[in-house]
Symmetry: C2
Amino acid sequence: MKYDFTMDQLCPATYAFQVIGGKWNLPILAILSENECIRYNELKRRLTGITGTALTNCLKELIDYGIVHREQYNEVPPRVEYSLTQSGKELVPLIESMVAWGQKNIVTR
Amino acid sequence: MKYDFTMDQLCPATYAFQVIGGKWNLPILAILSENECIRYNELKRRLTGITGTALTNCLKELIDYGIVHREQYNEVPPRVEYSLTQSGKELVPLIESMVAWGQKNIVTR
DNA sequence: ATACTAAGTATATAAAAGTATACTAATGGA
DNA sequence: TCCATTAGTATACTTTTATATACTTAGTAT
């Protein structure tokens, strides 16, 4: 391994895991990767079991990480659309190799 | 994205993130990837800040996932050596692409 | 007037993950 | 005899992460 991330607090791999980790981040990224853009409540409906609080927090985090873009239209009732940014889109093939590894190596305990 | 991991409890990508997630799993994999095999206390010394309890738990988990192999020699004082299994080794290039993504896309908040 | 909508916020609570501390075994060395 | 060593276990505790519930805003439809 070329990069030593053992001791480094700002290690890029740890960072990537922070971005995609957590209970809902990966499912959110999956849905966003399949839609050019999607509204808050539609996202919530597809993420069976998520609460509004959780969805809001996750989206905020992903926006702060520069993975997700938020577009707000000042209408009533409000319309807010979420989409992947460029760096979010670059994460997708990476997640796909995770899927491939998982499919090959999963161990049911 | 070809695989739908939104609703699936046993989704391969979620599984992969479980395996590498947690505070110490990634640093442990990094050290193991750089050593053919390594003893418990040497691993502990290199993982600055980890407690024995935490290291033991993580190693157990990684062994259960089939990522790490444990070889015990019945000597006194005891000697136990840890190494990556084949599926652990297959995880390394994947982590390396995480590093690459992180280096390119990291956002300091 | 009242109810309904979307996209949240605020607050409290529960569950999960991680940490600290003390303890164990068998042997070798001072 | 007493201390050090390795690779842990057992227990209690703290911190972090996730959830449940009630409330908000402004306009539109009944």
